[in-house]
């Protein structure tokens, strides 16, 4: 048991810091049961221990909604920075609708045209050379090297974690997020939430109760239009990967009414045509 746990830790450590950037970046909205702002509720419930969990979860859903619309497209650049200063860049075009995500690599040339589709817990990889989608395990690397499918194709925080409000100060709420099941790569998240914008400013990812795996820092709040005001940059570091750093840049996050057929195997070679 201990050995398996150590191996699990090791697997997580081996990934460069970029692993969970995308994970924290894809946070589409799930409409709240009412249209009201929830931060006041969270504030109120903070003094009411019995209702903390419920209100914290509502706050988490509001965070999801603030980060991205229910159906949207976006571009991402992932930059992996090694201790010697070498950099590796990847550019992705991503579409998302409900529990479905599709992403295609636009750069570098060695990855260009590779697309990944997620429908719930199902995941497929399409490689142009192979010419057909192959069902893959969600924890598998999508492109070889640094990226994990679950990281790139992650669903909502509120879909994968339950939240509890543990603390607050003048500028932040602090949420403790516990994984709903074993399918997520991090068992616990500690999230600092900007009280005004209701978006995360920092997340600490733990593989176990006290073992910090990664720290993610959001910055560069930008107005993407259509009421989408959110961070445009995410920096990731890991205390277990000294010297490695990863940056994700977001661009052109736009609400878009996407057809359901865009999230099918037959459409995987054409995801990039939706640009």
């Amino acid at each position: 048991m201990i050995f398996a746990h150590v191996l699990k830790m090791w697997r997580l450590f081996m990934r460069p810091a970029i692993c969970c950037i995308a994970a924290m970046a894809i946070v589409p909205a799930v409409a709240a049961s009412d249209g009201s702002t929830l931060q006041d509720k969270a504030q109120t419930s903070n003094s009411e221990t019995s209702s903390d969990a419920i209100d914290a979860n509502e706050l988490l859903r509001e965070i999801d909604r603030n980060m991205q619309p229910p159906s949207f497209e976006m571009y991402r650049k992932l930059i992996n920075i090694e201790p010697d200063g070498r950099q590796r860049e990847y550019v992705l075009y991503t579409i998302r609708k409900d529990d479905r995500v599709a992403a295609v690599f636009l750069d570098p040339p060695s990855e260009r045209g590779r697309s990944t589709l997620r429908r719930g817990e199902n995941m497929w990889l399409y490689v142009p050379e192979v010419g057909r989608p192959i069902r893959i395990t969600s924890l598998q690397s999508a492109v070889g090297g640094v990226f994990n499918n679950s990281d790139i194709m992650r669903l909502d925080f509120s879909d994968e974690y339950t939240a509890e409000l543990t603390d607050k100060d003048d500028t932040h709420y602090i949420l403790d997020l516990q994984a709903r099941d074993q399918t997520v790569p991090y068992e616990r998240l500690k999230m600092w939430v900007d009280r005004d914008a209701v978006i995360p400013s920092r997340i600490e990812a733990y593989a176990d109760a006290d073992l910090l795996i990664k720290t993610l820092d959001y910055s560069g709040i930008e107005d993407f239009g259509d009421g989408i005001v959110r961070p445009s940059r995410l920096d990731t570091t890991s205390p277990l990967q000294k010297g490695y750093r990863s940056v994700m840049l977001f661009s052109n996050i736009r609400a878009r009414d996407l057809p359901d057929e865009a999230f099918t195997l037959g459409f995987m070679p054409r995801v990039g045509e939706l640009r």
């Binding site: 057909r132 969600s138 640094v146 679950s150 195997l265 990039g272």
Partner: protein, 425 residues
């Protein structure tokens, strides 16, 4: 005065560079859709082969040679092109190959694919031209690949030449137990000038494939009908049992399938009915230690029996003593006997580990293929490095084991080493 200015300037430059180092640029204009797109790769491969001079395949292919070992150099250029003119687009994949070893120096240039697509609606797609279709859920083997050229399980991801086809596909997505559906129809004509290597008889061959994503399981049904190849029915499935464990399988039935075997004592070509069923069962598993395992069992109904292989190997050796006595054997030997999997039962195991010894951008692993009938096998350890921008380096050693009259024991070489460099553009 000058010195402080220089120091100040140096400090400013240093500060500016430190700031700039953290200011990343993301100009998405260069990633927007364009009318033209061109990409591809250029690769070079160097191999050293230790020949198995007593093997049947060696003697069939090179009866006049007696080399203990030799080198082989290959170059390969693949250029993919795309031209868009809504709602149509033109796709191409040009392949240029060069090969040089002691037996031959050869170069080829051909379009692996050249086809036009149209999308009357988002749910419908029409394709006409030379197209490489890929059917099946298996990694190394695909019994339901009804419209394809043979795949080499040693390099299953390599591009392959397509056939000239006309086809259409209709796709739908649902929210119920059936989550997605597609239906595709393909016409593959065979004449003296078109697709003449698909089958011996000229005909208009038809193929239909349907797909369902039903309760998180991929399910395919396919049929092929025409005179060029036997009528065939197939089904395939794939499903994740856990987030790190996937299973898949394929089953194909062929009507009146025949295979050529070694000629009889009078050197008359002989054919016999083959087993009508092909089967594949496989899994993909990602271990906690970040190793991907692919395991597949393949039943090749059109494979040879052990006694047939023995007879062909014997005739091939006699061909050295009496060249020209049995040309039929040579023809058969080069096509069927020399195929990637000429016999009936194979076990394929591939393990690839990411970032061994903390080496970023490195993968290491091995591929094992065992002929379950005669116990012969090939094992191919390999290492891949992608640390240089747009460059992939791969090293392999292929070791073949097996005695006389066995599948891998009668191959061209006993072992070989290979270094491949592939540059993407």
């Amino acid at each position: 005065m000058i010195r402080p200015c220089c120091l100040l300037l140096s400090a400013l430059v240093l500060f500016a560079s430190m700031v700039a180092a953290d200011e990343f640029v993301f100009d998405i204009e260069q990633y927007e859709r364009r009318t033209w797109e061109v990409g591809g790769h250029l690769e070079g491969t160097a191999e050293y082969l230790r020949a198995n001079r007593k093997s049947a395949v060696y003697q069939l292919n090179f009866p006049d040679e007696n080399k203990k070992a030799f080198e082989r150099y290959q170059g390969n250029l693949e250029v993919s092109g795309l031209y868009r003119s809504e709602p149509f687009s033109l796709h191409s994949l040009l392949n240029v190959r060069y090969r040089d070893d002691i037996f031959e120096t050869r170069s080829d240039i051909q379009f692996f694919q050249l086809y036009a697509t149209g999308e009357p609606t988002l749910r419908t797609n029409v394709e006409v031209g030379k197209r490489a279709l890929r059917w099946g859920t298996g990694y190394a083997f695909n019994p339901t690949a009804f419209l394809e050229r043979p795949k080499d399980p040693v390099d299953p991801d390599l591009s392959r030449e397509g056939f000239i086809i006309a086809g259409t596909e209709y796709i739908r997505s649902f929210s119920g137990p059936i989550q997605a559906f597609s239906l595709s129809g393909t016409i593959l004509p065979v004449t003296g000038d078109i697709n003449d290597d698909f089958g011996p008889e000229n005909d208009i061959n038809l193929a239909v494939r349907s797909y369902l994503l039903y309760r998180d399981t991929d399910i395919y049904f396919m049929v092929r009908h025409g005179d060029s190849r036997p009528t065939a029915f197939g089904t395939a499935f794939s499903r994740n049992l856990a987030d790190n464990f996937e299973i898949h399988g394929e089953f194909a039935w062929f009507d009146n399938r025949e295979i050529r075997v070694a000629p009889d004592a009078d050197n008359v070509p002989v054919t016999r009915k083959a087993d009508p069923f092909d089967l594949l069962a496989g899994l993909r598993y990602l271990s906690v230690a970040e190793t991907t395992w692919i395991v597949e069992y393949y039943r090749n109904g059109a494979g040879y029996t052990g006694s047939e292989i023995r007879r062909m190997a014997t005739l091939a050796r006699e061909n050295i003593i009496f060249p020209g006595l049995d040309r039929g054997t040579s023809r058969i030997g080069r096509s069927e006997f020399g195929a990637p999997q000429p016999m009936r039962d194979y076990l394929y195991v591939r393990a690839m580990h990411n970032e061994p010894f903390d080496r970023l951008y490195t993968r290491a692993g091995a591929t094992l293929m065992i002929n379950l009938q005669d116990g012969s096998a090939s094992i191919i350890p390999e290492i891949v490095y992608t640390g240089f921008t747009n460059l992939e380096l791969r090293g392999r050693i292929a070791i073949l084991t097996g005695g006389r009259n066995t599948d891998f024991g009668e191959r061209l070489n006993r072992w070989r080493t290979e270094i491949r460099a592939r540059y993407f553009f």
